[in-house]
Symmetry: C2
Subunit: 196 residues, 2 copies
Amino acid sequence: MPGAQAMTPAGRRILAAAEELFYHRGITAVGVDLIAEHSGVTKRTLYNQFGAKDHLVAAYLAERDQRWRSLVRATVDACDDPVEAVTAPFDALSIWSGDNTRGCAFINALAELPDPSHPAHRIAADQKHWLRNLFEELATAAGRAEPATLAVRLLVLHEGALATRPLTLDTLSASTDLARDLVRARLPVGGTDRPR
Amino acid sequence: MPGAQAMTPAGRRILAAAEELFYHRGITAVGVDLIAEHSGVTKRTLYNQFGAKDHLVAAYLAERDQRWRSLVRATVDACDDPVEAVTAPFDALSIWSGDNTRGCAFINALAELPDPSHPAHRIAADQKHWLRNLFEELATAAGRAEPATLAVRLLVLHEGALATRPLTLDTLSASTDLARDLVRARLPVGGTDRPR
DNA sequence: TCGCACGTACACTGATCGGTGAACCACCAG
DNA sequence: CTGGTGGTTCACCGATCAGTGTACGTGCGA
């Protein structure tokens, strides 16, 4: 995992073209020749840099994951109020969804790569766990009751909105509204809530 | 669209093999030769029945959609209490998820077939709209306030749980619990006396 | 008995797939 | 001057892709 920064200029162009093509046209449907052509590079160079298509796929997902996490982190950090911060990832999602109309790149990748040993599976699972843990940290910091339960609920809302992005349904605002309602949880949480 | 019932024996076997293979291995990754082999049929017969791979893909999705709707309908109809009926699709999802560990076949199909003119897009959109409308009908019948808003929220929860099925997160019970809380119009984390 | 629909067997097409080999060039540091 | 790194050019590999053509067999209804 070269890290994209420690990468040769041609390598970066290849990765950029791969991101664009893989996300918008699907991984299996896009051949290495097409990526090489779109990045103005020879197929030979592509293989000198990445070795195999699967490695390029992994690099694409890792890079995308990193970019998304940066956006989420920045959006969260921009919040003064710790309660607002809990739903900040939904604001990030609103921005992110603008350009990314084809849903979740990781869910989509798993759909095309059923082999569980493919690196894509680990990257995808890591990302979702990271988000769930972030929700839990934020909920704890905001003094919410049962932060673990709340975190999974927020995660489901987040993924539901993201996954249905390609459909003609306004799920984003619905999930964001509900998320805020959940976090504000006007009702005093009774002491009889089952532990978790 | 032959309707699966008005189909030749060989045609049904082909469709059954296609469902199995397309769902578990991905559409683009599965070739017609493999489907023919798995259904004990010549590739010639496959093309005599379906004409093109895309038509077979459409038939696969349509058939799957129909099977899923039947399950949901049956689960809803088995409910005496109209309030319980609103969240019955989540009980159906629990059953459905047992065999279908690779998430939503329609979200997955859209990931592989970016062309919006592909019949898969219409089928997928129709399915999600159907579910949203069903939620709205059920919410109205149960006398819930703002049934349209509630319906979209339930849809997001449903899709979130389904889409994240391949990941190692227990999103199904979380979304079902939250759905019930929403329908009972008790606010979020409350629920002290809920039977389960 | 005729014809037709369903299905098999098998060879074949052109295109595309992921991936490789080898020669060559430009640059920069030792 | 020399060697290594990054890159190009181009030809090539075997495999697989979706899809077709043709001839043949079988059962059934008119």
